[in-house]
Amino acid sequence: MKKKLTINGENTFVLSETLLKVLNEINIIKNKNMAVAVNEEVIEKINWENYKIKSGDIIEIVQPLKGG
């Protein structure tokens, strides 16, 4: 069954069970400069593979960009 998530402020529906699989499903290519928070908590990259995602989760996917 599809799960309803909020990813970077947008309603997104996914089938995947874990964070890493969710990222793959929405075509985010993992790179070492990325960071992810689920429900306002940072999830370290080494835990993405096993981190279970549930319906209603709020996910932030960020990376460094030009800034002052």
Binding site: I7, N8, G9, E10, T12, I26, N27, I28, N31, N33, M34, A35, V36, A37, E40, V42, E44, K45, E60, I61, V62, Q63, P64, L65, K66, G67, G68
Partner: protein
């Protein structure tokens, strides 16, 4: 003589920190950073686009510079702390330029939220460099909660107006036990020179170089100003006087005798 700028466990030879925003293109940015002889560059933390290609400049910058992530655009303690934590995960650094702003009109720091945000991040083992008002009391409080440096503004971000309250900056320098880095509001080299003459430990700037007619040349000029201003501070300027004081002695001058 103190040749290095020490913040936390880091030592920097250059006292000029550079932002990476608003340059005409990447090439000009990289050339300007090089001309500025900087070691520290700032970056922002932003959401990845789920729809289009996300540019990645960090790998290039990482090779040469110490990356200082900021919490630009954060209005609350919660947003700022989470952004700093995401930055730490993304960049594997404990350093953060902490910004908690009051509104997006004047981009001035919201001190009521800035100080507790700094306190929380210090507790989480961050080296906190807060963008703050040019207020000696605020700077002292930020030092007291454990900030690694204080970064009072010269003037509002991007305004280019230069140091608006030299007296306050001087007080901050005299009372501070952590490095004082002027952040925001610099317009040109004289602003940088004044900051360094006042005894500041460094300057962080962005728009003044990125939006100059010739960013690369302005970057070089800024680096020269840092050096000149720092040397002038170390050399110790003369006090200002209200009246003239001759530099050549009167002794031995010719003295004609007036007739009638």
């Amino acid at each position: 003589m103190k040749n290095f700028l020490s913040i936390g466990n880091k030592k920097f030879k250059s006292r000029l920190f550079m932002g990476t925003s608003r340059y005409p293109n990447h090439q000009v940015m990289l050339e300007s950073l090089n001309a500025a002889r900087t070691e520290v560059v700032t970056v922002a933390i932003r959401r990845i686009s789920l729809k289009k290609y996300n540019e990645n400049i960090i790998d290039i910058l990482k090779k040469k510079y110490f990356i200082l992530p900021n919490t630009a655009g954060c209005y609350t303690i919660k947003e700022a702390v989470l952004t700093a934590e995401l930055a730490r995960e993304a960049l594997k650094t404990n350093f953060v330029k902490l910004e908690v702003i009051g509104n997006d009109e004047d981009l001035l720091p919201d001190v009521e939220n800035l100080i507790p945000a700094a306190k929380e991040l210090v507790k989480k083992n961050f080296n906190v460099l807060p963008y703050c008002n040019d207020d000696p009391i605020v700077c002292k409080k930020l030092e007291d909660v454990g900030c690694s440096a204080v970064m009072p503004l010269a003037a509002p971000i991007g305004s280019g107006m230069g140091i608006q309250n030299q007296h306050n900056i001087k007080l901050i320098v005299e009372e501070s036990n952590v490095p004082v880095i002027i952040d925001a509001g610099v317009g040109t080299v004289s602003d940088v020179a004044i900051a360094m003459e006042l005894g500041c430990d460094g300057v962080l700037l962005n728009t003044a170089v990125a939006e100059a007619q010739n960013p690369k040349l302005m970057a070089k000029a800024m680096a020269d100003a840092i050096k000149a201003g720092r040397n002038a501070f170390l050399a110790g300027r003369i006090p200002k006087r209200f009246f003239a004081k001759n530099s050549t002695t009167n002794k031995g001058r010719i003295h004609l005798i007036k007739k009638n």
